[in-house]
């Protein structure tokens, strides 16, 4: 067993884990943060994408022990004070999902993209989401959702003007 100490969505955690435990299993099974999904399990689909020290990574291809001393952000860390993150709002407004399985990974990959490029054009959005597969939408509405978010973030209209929404409310 190995002792790991890491910050997840702002909360410090210390656990003894098997070195072979994948980060995605640590998040889902130890911390019960099941928003991060296991899709293909072969580092193709991106459903397990989280941010590790500010960079989007596939949590099925990272060991929990590699994250010792790191900061991790998962989809559960996007909404603040019951308000959706502008990216989540974009997926809502632009119908950026159907079944929703890929959505947490899409959101975190898009979040990672916006960290390095806050104003991506359509091509940059598509390139930034190249590591994420969606079998429902054909991607068009996902791109529109990210564009919606970049617009509201640039205008500052998301958190101030958008109606307060509780995550999970219909």
């Amino acid at each position: 067993m190995a002792r790991i100490s890491l910050k997840v969505n702002g909360t410090q955690h210390v656990h003894e884990v098997e070195p072979r435990m994948l980060l995605v299993h640590y998040l889902r099974e130890v911390l019960s943060l099941t928003g991060t999904h296991v899709g293909c399990d072969t580092s193709q689909c991106g459903a397990c994408t989280v941010l590790l020290d500010g960079k989007a990574v596939k949590a099925c291809s990272v060991l929990a022990v590699q994250a010792d001393g790191s900061e991790v952000k998962t989809v559960e860390g996007l909404a603040q004070d019951g308000r959706l993150h502008p990216l989540q709002e974009g997926f809502w407004e632009e119908h950026g999902l159907q079944c929703g399985f890929c959505t947490p990974g899409m959101l975190m990959a898009a979040y990672g993209l916006l960290q390095s490029n806050p104003h991506p054009d359509e091509h940059a959005i598509r390139a930034g989401l190249e590591g994420n597969l969606c079998r429902c939408t054909g991607y068009h509405n996902i791109v529109k959702a990210v564009q919606h978010a970049t617009k509201t973030m640039a205008e500052g209209t998301s958190k101030t003007a958008a109606p307060a929404r509780t995550v999970g409310a219909a």
Partner: protein, 288 residues
């Protein structure tokens, strides 16, 4: 828990990593970004008893210019190479190749040293290292040494590194004025590995090619210099006709590795096309 059980060691320094390698011998594997090793371990194709994590070793990451060389730490991620203004300005072939590896998430973890040491026959950066005549630095119990890229790739996923050596940094000689390089790739649509990848570096003076290094990946069991292309370019005009004629020799003498995706004749044809594209852009960057 898909990987077989192992013990995890986070190396504090390059020397520490070498000491751990010496201690655990054949039972140990070095772990950097893990984007090749961890998928192999999940499938249990690899079952090391000890993993030695070198990703966070101070001084093993970073990019600097030094004595006519661009020196890149082995644990530098692809994303850093792709985004580096210094790399883009000095060796655009390296940054554009790094930007085409896998996908953004893979590029945030995978490292230059990992790619070269893993020596996947369809990896992108091994071809770039060959075309740029990189010097690959290693540290082992017998001290530090440097291996030229020409001598580094031995066979399928086999390099000149000894089992107890750590790849520490890669030194790319900065080409003289009038030089240009380019990397062109036809990726596997699913894996993004190169079905064909071509790295070309040219120096042009007075409209003629005075130096050329061209390397391919994805075709054979290891990355290879396209020596027939290089010979055909030497001393010739850097014009479209000469470059196209040289590109025709892209697979001369090359034994194709078996690949189920497409017929051999098509792969050879792709190699010619992508060599021509790489040469054309390299010549343009050289100002030829």
């Amino acid at each position: 828990m898909y990987p077989a059980p192992f013990e995890y060691h986070r190396a504090a320094s390059a020397q520490d990593a070498v000491a751990l390698l010496g201690k655990y011998g054949d039972e140990a594997k070095l772990l950097a970004g893990g984007q090749s090793l961890l998928p192999l371990m999940k499938l249990r194709f690899a079952q090391p008893r000890h993993l030695i994590d070198v990703r966070r070793i101070q001084g093993l990451s970073g990019i600097r210019e030094e004595k006519g060389m661009l020196v890149v730490g082995a644990a530098t991620p692809y994303a850093t190479l792709a985004a580096s203004a210094l790399v883009q300005a000095k060796l655009p072939m390296l940054s554009e190749a790094a930007a085409q590896i896998g996908d953004p998430q893979v590029r945030n973890m995978g490292t230059l040293g990992g790619s070269l040491a893993h020596a996947d026959p369809a990896g992108d950066l091994p071809a770039v290292a060959l075309a740029l005549a990189a010097e690959i630095a290693a540290l082992g119990p017998r001290g530090a040494r440097t291996v030229h890229a020409d001598d580094f790739f031995v066979e399928l996923m086999t390099t000149a590194l000894a089992p107890d050596e750590l790849l520490t940094e890669v030194r790319f000689p900065l080409p003289p004025a009038g030089s240009g390089g380019a990397y062109e790739k036809y990726p596997n649509p699913a894996s993004r590995y190169a079905l064909v990848g071509v790295a070309a570096q040219l120096t042009v003076a007075g409209g003629k090619v005075t130096a050329a290094r061209v390397a391919t990946t994805g075709l054979a069991t290891k990355p290879l210099r396209a020596l027939a292309v290089e010979a055909a370019l030497q001393g010739k005009a850097a014009d479209a006709a000469s470059l196209a004629a040289a590109a025709e020799k892209a697979t001369d003498g090359l034994k194709l590795r078996a690949a189920a995706q497409m017929p051999d004749a098509y792969r050879r044809s792709l190699a010619v096309t992508f060599t021509a594209r790489a040469l054309t852009r390299a010549a343009k960057r050289a100002g030829g």
